[in-house]
């Protein structure tokens, strides 16, 4: 599997108090651990089990994903714009890897 590539869509600017939608997507197999390969051997589970979003270092939204989440997981949520700053996103893999992305937001 190639390195998962996160993609994030956040508006570049917003008015103070405006509700914005944050959309994220990451390429990942989300292997459930229930499938068998052609030799009949169980393919071990490997999913992204956690997604977290923070703004200027403060936690905004978190999701615990289980095996029922589709491959190439999508996650959307909302944020009420207050101040100019930066989102930081992290996806945590079963294998211990962390995939990261950031997005700037200018608030007027």
């Amino acid at each position: 599997m190639s390195t998962p590539k996160p993609r994030v869509r956040v508006p570049a600017q917003a008015k103070k108090g405006e509700l914005i939608e944050v959309k994220t997507l990451i390429s990942h197999e989300m292997e459930t651990g229930m499938r068998k390969d052609s030799a009949g051997k169980t393919i071990p589970r490997q999913i992204i089990n956690k997604f977290a979003a923070a703004f200027n270092g403060k936690m905004v939204f978190e999701a615990d994903w289980h095996t029922s989440i589709s491959a190439n997981p999508y996650q959307a949520f909302f944020y009420k714009a207050q101040e100019t700053g930066e989102f930081s996103f992290v996806w945590k893999d079963d294998n211990g890897s962390e995939y990261k992305a950031t997005a700037k937001l200018a608030v007027s």
Binding site: F61, H66, S70, P73, Y79
Partner: protein, 156 residues
């Protein structure tokens, strides 16, 4: 009417109908170990014990019919002012016909401004989606919706 009296007294057509029904039940029986309503209830009890679940406040948006069980959109929205002292703390989503009942758990903060989140899930078969929301004051709400799945998300 039990089976024996049926065979004794019933017409041949009745017996065939019962046999057909039994065959249909056998076909519909799941082929792998799947969660059920009890498994979902057990997960909810693990989180919240026997606390009462209220109705309303949750808008659970899932398709009535999903053609492809591998990618089923799910959008949840909970009515809340999302202020510092009155907000939605967490939301848990369960599926009662998947190999494992847990789908996703969200944690919200007042900074979200709106308690809503969307993702995509796999569904192995036609089943109920159960959603439980916990408010900042500890109040619990729950709702469920059925999704009919045409092609299952587990290679089925």
């Amino acid at each position: 009417m039990n089976m024996q009296t049926l065979i004794r007294n019933g017409s041949r057509r009745d017996v065939l109908a019962i046999g057909g029904l039994a065959a249909l039940v056998a076909v519909l029986a799941p082929r792998m170990a799947l969660a059920d309503e009890k498994a979902v209830q057990a997960e909810i009890n693990k989180l919240y014990g026997n606390k009462k679940l209220g109705e309303g406040r949750i808008k659970l948006d899932v398709p009535q019919i999903a053609e492809n069980g591998l990618v089923v959109p799910i959008n949840v929205e909970i009515e809340s002012p999302m202020s510092a002292d009155d907000y939605v703390k967490s939301v848990h989503v369960f599926a009662d016909g998947n190999p494992l009942p847990n789908v996703v758990s969200y944690r919200f903060t007042p900074e979200c401004g709106k308690a809503a989140a969307a993702t995509r899930m796999r569904l192995a078969q036609t089943q109920n989606i159960v959603c439980v929301a916990e408010m900042s004051n500890g109040a619990l709400f729950s709702t469920k919706a059925e999704v009919k799945v045409t092609i299952g998300g587990c290679g089925g």
